[in-house]
């Protein structure tokens, strides 16, 4: 399993919603924080296919794929414990 971070750039509510729907349709485990999506993929092939599908929505975005865990971590402020737990589960477990 792999953790990924998708950041939409200058996206409106409609574009956020279309990304949200796409991830739901594909059965992807994710957590949305505004324009930021933390999402889990099963294989590299699925990751590449998902990135291509997001491209086809014609939104501006940055996609980070975390392949090897080398001591990475997430720090935050203002998030609930439940949200932080879910982010760690998506990115690192």
């Amino acid at each position: 399993m792999f953790g990924n971070i998708l950041m939409l750039v200058n996206a409106d509510a409609g574009q956020q919603s279309s990304v949200n729907s796409l991830l739901g349709t594909k059965g992807i485990l994710f957590e949305q924080l505004g324009n930021l999506f933390f999402l889990e993929t099963a294989t590299k092939k699925q990751t590449n296919e998902l990135a291509s599908a997001i491209s086809n929505l014609h939104v501006n975005f940055v996609f980070f794929h975390n392949s090897i865990s080398d001591g990475s971590f997430i720090k935050s402020q203002g998030l609930s414990d439940a949200t932080l737990t879910k982010l760690n589960q998506i990115m690192f477990v």
Binding site: T43, K44, K45, Q46, N48, I68, D70
Partner: protein, 336 residues
């Protein structure tokens, strides 16, 4: 040969000065795609003159530069390694005294390169590569190859060589306890391989072909006059060797993280002494059954032809072996 040697030395010295800073864990992982795997194995005996117990073939490589792992994982088209290599070969026999006889010592300077070929799909990756190594191969012994009484190079030893004809069976007269073997050599191997990849771009199958050529030469690295052979010895060794190898690897679908390797190799010596079997072929099957240690395998082989233990190339016959080996190029992600 001399010009090639000078060029090789210049390139090796230049590459030593181009070592990049170590930035991540992958910089400390050094893989070598071409070449034999270190192993320890039981070997059956070629001749009744001595009975083998086991053989150890450790291989130690210290890289000056090696980016195979990082480059393979990041879609680079050229991957390379530059290194010094030590490849001793030790055999233990059943003799009560000095059971380890005439071990081989091989030291090389070497480089390996792989070039990623254009691929039609994400599920395959093809590479062309080569390995170039040059160094010294000997057994550290000082006595004549055909007498335990006289030192190698002495008049008495030379007179024994003068009695050797094409009808002489070298295997019958070889000094198996202290006979000297020494040469310098350069080996070039060309490699083509094709991987089938799974959905995580890790290999699930592989076809690999090697074509190789080894030249025995008198000067170390083609430049320095030490560690070479005598005129009499090279007529027995043969200067040229040719190698052809095919290897197939398959990861088991239903036995996770385990894989099987099948390998067939042929070696041909050009114009050795008439009593030497020019051909050596080895068929091996390696199973990597340990999910906790994917580099360690169990290997069984059938060998026919000349031996590959320094001067014992004069022996020939059928051999069987079984033992453990350790992969020098384990499976990892081949593209982004």
């Amino acid at each position: 040969m001399r010009r090639l040697s000078i060029l090789l030395l210049q390139v090796l010295l230049l590459s030593t000065g181009l070592v990049c800073a170590q930035k991540s864990f992958n910089d400390f992982v050094q893989a070598y795609p071409i070449g034999d795997e270190p192993n320890m194995r039981y070997l059956s005996s070629y001749t009744k003159q001595e009975t083998m117990l086991f053989e150890a073939n450790p291989i130690v490589r210290y890289s000056f530069y090696n980016n195979f792992v990082k480059s393979l994982m990041n879609d680079s088209t050229h991957m390379q390694g530059w290194y010094i290599s030590f490849r001793p070969q030790l055999r233990m026999y059943t003799d009560n005294s000095k059971p380890v006889k005439t071990p081989s010592y091989r030291t090389y300077l070497g480089t390996q390169h792989m070039f990623r070929l254009p691929n039609k799909s994400d599920s395959t990756q093809q590479f062309l590569g080569f390995s170039l190594e040059s160094g010294h191969y000997s057994n550290g012994q000082v006595m004549s190859a055909f007498s335990e009484k006289y030192p190698d190079g002495s008049k008495e030893s030379d007179s024994i060589y003068n009695t050797i004809t094409s009808a002489t069976k070298l295997s019958d007269i070889l000094n198996r306890n202290s006979g000297n073997f020494s040469t310098n050599l350069t080996e070039l191997i060309l490699n083509y391989r094709c991987y089938g990849l799974d959905d995580n771009y890790q290999p699930k199958s592989m076809h690999s072909i090697n074509l190789g050529y080894t030249l025995y030469h008198d000067l170390f690295l083609g430049l320095l006059d030490f560690g070479g052979y005598s005129d009499q010895d090279i007529k027995l060794y043969g200067k040229h060797r040719f190698l052809l190898t095919y290897e197939y690897m398959r990861v088991f679908e239903h036995w996770k993280n385990r894989r099987l390797n099948l390998k067939q190799s042929f070696e041909w010596i050009e114009k050795p002494h008439a009593s030497v079997n020019r051909l050596r072929m080895e068929s091996s099957c390696t199973l990597y059954p340990f999910s906790s240690n994917k580099t360690m395998g169990v290997v069984a082989s059938y060998i026919y032809g000349h031996d590959n233990y320094n001067f014992r190339f004069v022996d020939s016959g059928h051999q069987f072996s079984v033992g453990l080996c350790w992969s020098q190029f384990p499976l990892f992600q081949m593209k982004r």
